[in-house]
Structure formats: structure tokens, C-alpha cells
């Protein structure tokens, strides 16, 4: 027996994909992904219409989806993150139905709870055998972890594995087992390796970024959480990586043995693992080649599913035990709500990803962002979109002061600790005022009436809506 079919078209036919169904994709190929475009192009040729695409993330490379929206092939879009190119078209109202934004944890959990139903999942797999055992750790398009694809594989009615590296059965070291897979297709290339992972992710050299990183590392130290058993998540942004570097130096200097590092994993987290800062890494996604190499070779560097990483449908998740997470923001408001979905003009250019999941789980959720970006103040009266609720955010670090969120009856002790450490603790209102002194008071942005996206919280409830731009 073999599940191998000759083409994507044959797989679509065998899955009996029809008008009005929902198909899904993961984003481990990031901005190098060929599979989403390839499948949609085939579907368009077959004349199937009115589909909903549920992709864990949409990148700029997926720009052709705008054409499929315009010609009626795609009439629904669900994702956790959307790059600026497709985001612009959505913000300008190209899609009739509002986009549904979820978090990484929320997407997986909504599938498991059955509130998000996938008819056919297309899983880009850097290596697979003909029965559908597959992994991202091997092959010319290796991306490391494929943690976001687990929920799709386990919950979709039909599952198609798309690979460019077919190996003899059984694949040794599979991530997703054959039991979930209906069909396997080979293609020339599932992605452009240059866009899948960065060669290296680099620490910022921007002096302002380093200043914020330095403050953030001091906040973590002063919080008292940096002790044996420490667990930590950081993104791939320049200032957060620099913070990780400072944290590492402190851990090594004091001989602190942490518990786990989690999230999207970079070479810097791999270094921390190898130098004994952590017992293990829980990896839902790899950001660079060093992380890919590590997850392939080091058993302490473990692949986890989106559910285990950040979901609410399991009995527990990694985020529940997280001590500290470092997060970014385009806007923070006076109630500490954070916007990572839109820019200051209201154009969609991002999404929660794991932002609200980790903020909710971590004991200390730190937002790191410059006080102004190209003149625009970080702190506003009300975010254009609430991506992460203020009650889950603890500290905002800027180069001109650190605001501790004591608005929800917590963090009073933390605030005193930061003051005692002689850190420049200010109120969130002060940050807004400082920015406006420097940049002037921005005129409020006028948005349209039409709702172009609904933002769901990790538990599936509606958190906010995003309006069209004018």
C-alpha cells in the first residue's frame, strides 16, 4: 500500500474538495513557502470557489492569495499573523467577510474543540515517506520544528502531505505519524530555503535597542525570577535577542540552572541550552539554521505542538509554567492593552502569534519597544486593535522609562523591587507624555465603518475588531 498520488490535483480530487469548504496550511516555510500558492493555483484551475483558507500565518510571499480573493476562489481567511502586503489589501477591504485572527494556541485549541473545522489540511513537509510519516528536521527545505502543523494533521477531515524529499518507509524520527495522513504528494520544491530560515538571526547594534535590552535584563534580575528553575521565552527581534544575551551572561556569572527555554527558537537560545542555562528547549518553530541543526541532533531540544506550546484545550501547556516572556508592540495603551495587529495608520501588518498566549501564561510578561518609532508614540489612549489584553501585561520597557502595570491589583511588589534596583520606573501616562513632548501629539486616525477582521482571544471569545482604513 502507498498513499502516494501523482499530483496536487489528484490529491484535491481524492479529498473531494468542493465549493465552500475550508483548507488549512502551516507557516513553517515562512516567507519561503511555495505550497499555499501552489495548492490555491491548482484549486483555481479546477474551478472550485468560495473556500475558506485557514493558514497559521500569511506572509508577503502569499500575495497571490489577493487575486484568488478577487476572483472568488477564496472568500474566507483565518490566520494568526498576516504580513503587510496581504494585510494592506485586507485593510482596504478586498475581502467581503472579516478575516478571523487567532493566537497560535487558540488556533490549535479551536480545532481540537471542534469550533474550527478543517476539511482538507495541506502539510508542507521537508521530509516524508509514502505513508505520510513526516518531519521538518531533514531534507533540503528543512525548517526544524513543525509544531504548528500537528493540530491540522490530527483534526482535519483529510490530510495531504506535500514534500520535496520522499524517503523509504519508515521515516526515522518522524514528527507527525502516518495515522493522520490520507495522501502524500511530491513536488519539485516546497519552499525557498533562503526564505524559510535565516542564516543567522542577529543581535541589534542599535544603541537604543541595546539600552532597552539592558534595562529589560535588569528588570528580570530585579523581579527575583532569575533563579534555578527559570523558564524563558524570547522572540527573534533584535532588542529581545540582546536581552537574552544579557540574561545569559547573568545566568552564567551566577551559575543559575534554568528549566526551559521556549517558543520560536533562535541560535541564541541554542547557545543558552548548550552552555547549561536550560535543561531543555521546547520548540514550536525554528528561526535560524543553528536552531534547525540543534533540534535535529540534540535530544534536549524538543519539538512541541502548538497545543503543548500555548493551547487552552490540553490539560496544561508550556506557557502555563513560563516565568518570563519578552514581547514587542506597535502600540500600548493606558490600560496596558497591546496592539501587534496593525500599524499606527490602522493597516494590518502582523498578528498575535503567541503574543497573547504567552502574556497570559507567563509570571512576568515584558513588552519591549522604543518610546517612538519614526515619530509615532508607542503609548496611546486606546490601541487601534487589542491583540493582548492589558491585564496579562506586566511591564513596558522603553529607552526612556519603565512602566509597571499595577492597574489590575497586581505587581505592586514588583514595582517596589524595580525602584529599589534604581531602574527608571515611571507611570504609563508619563511614557505617553514624554513621547508627545518629543514628537508632538498625533492626530487621531480616522478609520472606516467596515469591519475587516475579528480578533479572537485564545479561548475563542471575541477580543476586538479591526476596521477598514479610509
Amino acid at each position: 500500500m502507498s498513499k502516494l498520488v501523482a499530483s496536487i490535483r489528484e490529491a484535491i480530487e481524492k479529498c473531494e474538495l468542493r465549493d465552500g469548504m475550508t483548507i488549512s496550511f502551516h507557516h513553517h516555510m515562512r516567507n519561503g513557502d511555495y505550497v499555499l500558492n501552489m495548492v490555491l493555483e491548482e484549486i483555481a484551475k479546477m474551478g472550485i470557489k468560495n473556500l475558506t483558507v485557514n493558514a497559521s500565518s500569511i506572509f508577503d510571499i502569499h500575495e497571490p492569495i489577493i487575486g484568488h480573493i478577487q476572483n472568488g476562489v477564496v472568500t474566507g481567511l483565518e490566520c494568526n499573523y498576516m504580513g503587510a502586503k496581504v494585510g494592506k489589501a485586507i485593510s482596504e477591504g478586498v475581502l467581503e467577510k472579516p478575516v478571523i485572527f487567532r493566537s497560535h494556541g487558540g488556533r490549535a485549541s479551536d480545532m481540537e474543540k471542534g469550533t474550527s473545522v478543517i476539511d482538507v489540511a495541506f502539510i508542507a513537509a521537508p521530509t516524508a515517506d509514502d505513508m505520510g510519516n513526516c518531519t521538518g528536521k531533514l531534507g533540503p527545505s528543512a525548517c526544524g520544528s513543525i509544531g504548528y502543523a500537528f493540530a491540522d494533521a490530527m483534526n482535519a477531515k483529510k490530510v495531504v502531505v506535500v514534500t520535496d524529499n520522499l524517503v523509504p518507509y519508515p521515516l526515522v524520527g518522524f514528527s507527525i505519524p502516518e495515522v493522520y495522513v490520507d495522501y502524500v504528494v511530491t513536488v519539485d520544491q516546497i519552499g525557498n530555503p533562503a526564505g524559510i530560515v535565516s542564516g543567522t538571526t542577529k543581535i541589534t547594534r542599535d544603541p537604543v535597542g541595546l539600552r532597552m535590552a539592558n534595562y529589560t535584563a535588569q528588570v528580570i534580575e530585579a523581579s527575583g525570577l532569575l533563579r534555578d528553575g527559570f523558564s524563558f521565552q524570547t522572540g527573534a527581534g533584535g532588542a529581545t535577542l540582546a536581552t537574552a544575551q544579557y540574561v545569559k551572561e547573568k545566568m552564567l556569572a551566577k551559575g543559575i540552572k534554568g528549566s526551559y527555554g521556549m517558543g520560536g527558537i533562535t541560535g541564541y537560545m541554542v547557545d543558552m541550552l548548550n552552555e547549561g542555562c536550560f535543561q531543555a528547549l521546547l520548540d514550536v518553530q525554528c528561526f535560524d539554521l543553528k536552531a534547525v541543526e540543534s533540534i535535529r541532533t540534540n535530544p534536549k531540544h524538543m519539538e512541541v505542538s502548538a497545543t503543548q506550546y500555548a493551547g487552552v484545550s490540553g490539560k496544561s501547556a508550556g506557557v502555563d509554567n513560563l516565568d518570563v516572556v519578552l514581547l514587542g508592540a506597535t502600540q500600548v495603551d493606558l490600560d496596558f492593552n497591546v496592539n501587534v495587529h496593525t500599524d499606527s495608520n490602522g493597516y494590518i501588518m502582523g498578528g498575535s502569534g503567541g503574543h497573547c498566549d504567552t502574556a497570559a501564561g507567563a509570571k512576568l510578561a515584558i513588552i519591549i519597544a522604543p518610546l517612538t518609532r519614526a515619530r509615532l508614540p508607542l503609548v496611546v489612549d486606546r490601541c487601534l486593535c487589542i491583540s493582548t489584553p492589558g491585564k496579562t501585561v506586566d511591564v513596558v520597557v522603553t529607552q526612556r522609562g519603565i512602566a509597571v502595570n499595577t492597574k489590575y491589583g497586581k505587581n505592586a511588589e514588583l514595582k517596589e523591587k524595580l525602584k529599589a534596583a534604581k531602574l527608571p520606573v515611571v507611570e504609563i501616562e508619563d511614557l505617553k507624555q514624554k513621547a508627545e513632548e518629543l514628537a508632538g501629539v498625533p492626530k487621531p486616525v480616522q478609520l472606516g465603518q467596515k469591519v475587516v477582521a475579528n480578533v479572537l482571544y485564545r479561548d475563542g471569545t471575541l477580543l476586538d475588531v479591526i476596521h477598514a482604513v479610509r
Binding site: 499606527s344 519614526a374 515619530r375 509615532l376 518629543l438 508632538g440 498625533p442 492626530k443 486616525v445 480616522q446
Partner: protein, 88 residues
């Protein structure tokens, strides 16, 4: 001061502005900015203040702003005008 020739000042880097001035019979100010929605009025007022101080009555002033604050924009406008007036 009169704008006698075309001249430019500034850069297109973030937090800076690129300003071009050219001779013209009327006074025209053209603003392109990454923060146009939020700060266009303030940018225009800042430019007009510099024109006033330098006694510039006519000319075409075009600015491509990358999120510069007022004192930076004003510096770039003043530099461009002085370059165009045979000074600096």
C-alpha cells in the same frame, strides 16, 4: 532670502527628512510623510515658520519625511533654502 537655484538637504533615513527647494513664482509646499495622517498640519506649520524667519516669499518646497521631529524638519528646510540662496 530668495530661492535662486534648486537645492536639497537631509536624507531618507528613518527620523530624518529629505527637502528639495526650487525657484517658483508662487509659494508651494508639498509634503510627503510616513506620518502624514498624524502630523501633516504640524509639519506644515513648522515649515512655514522657517520660511517666515528667512523671509522666503516664493519657491517650491518639497519634503519627503521619514518620521523626523519638527526641529529636524526645520533644520533640513533651513539648510536647503540657504544652499539655494547662495549661502552655506
Amino acid at each position: 532670502m530668495n530661492i535662486k537655484t534648486s537645492a536639497a538637504a537631509g536624507t531618507l533615513e528613518s527620523s530624518d527628512a529629505y527637502v528639495m527647494v526650487e525657484p517658483s513664482d508662487t509659494l508651494e509646499i508639498a509634503i510627503e510623510s510616513v506620518v502624514y495622517n498624524q502630523y501633516a498640519d504640524q509639519i506644515r506649520a513648522g515649515i512655514e515658520q522657517v520660511l517666515d524667519q528667512l523671509g522666503v516669499k516664493t519657491g517650491r518646497i518639497s519634503i519627503n519625511d521619514k518620521g523626523a521631529v519638527d526641529c529636524v524638519i526645520q533644520a533640513r528646510v533651513e539648510t536647503a533654502i540657504k544652499r539655494a540662496g547662495g549661502e552655506g
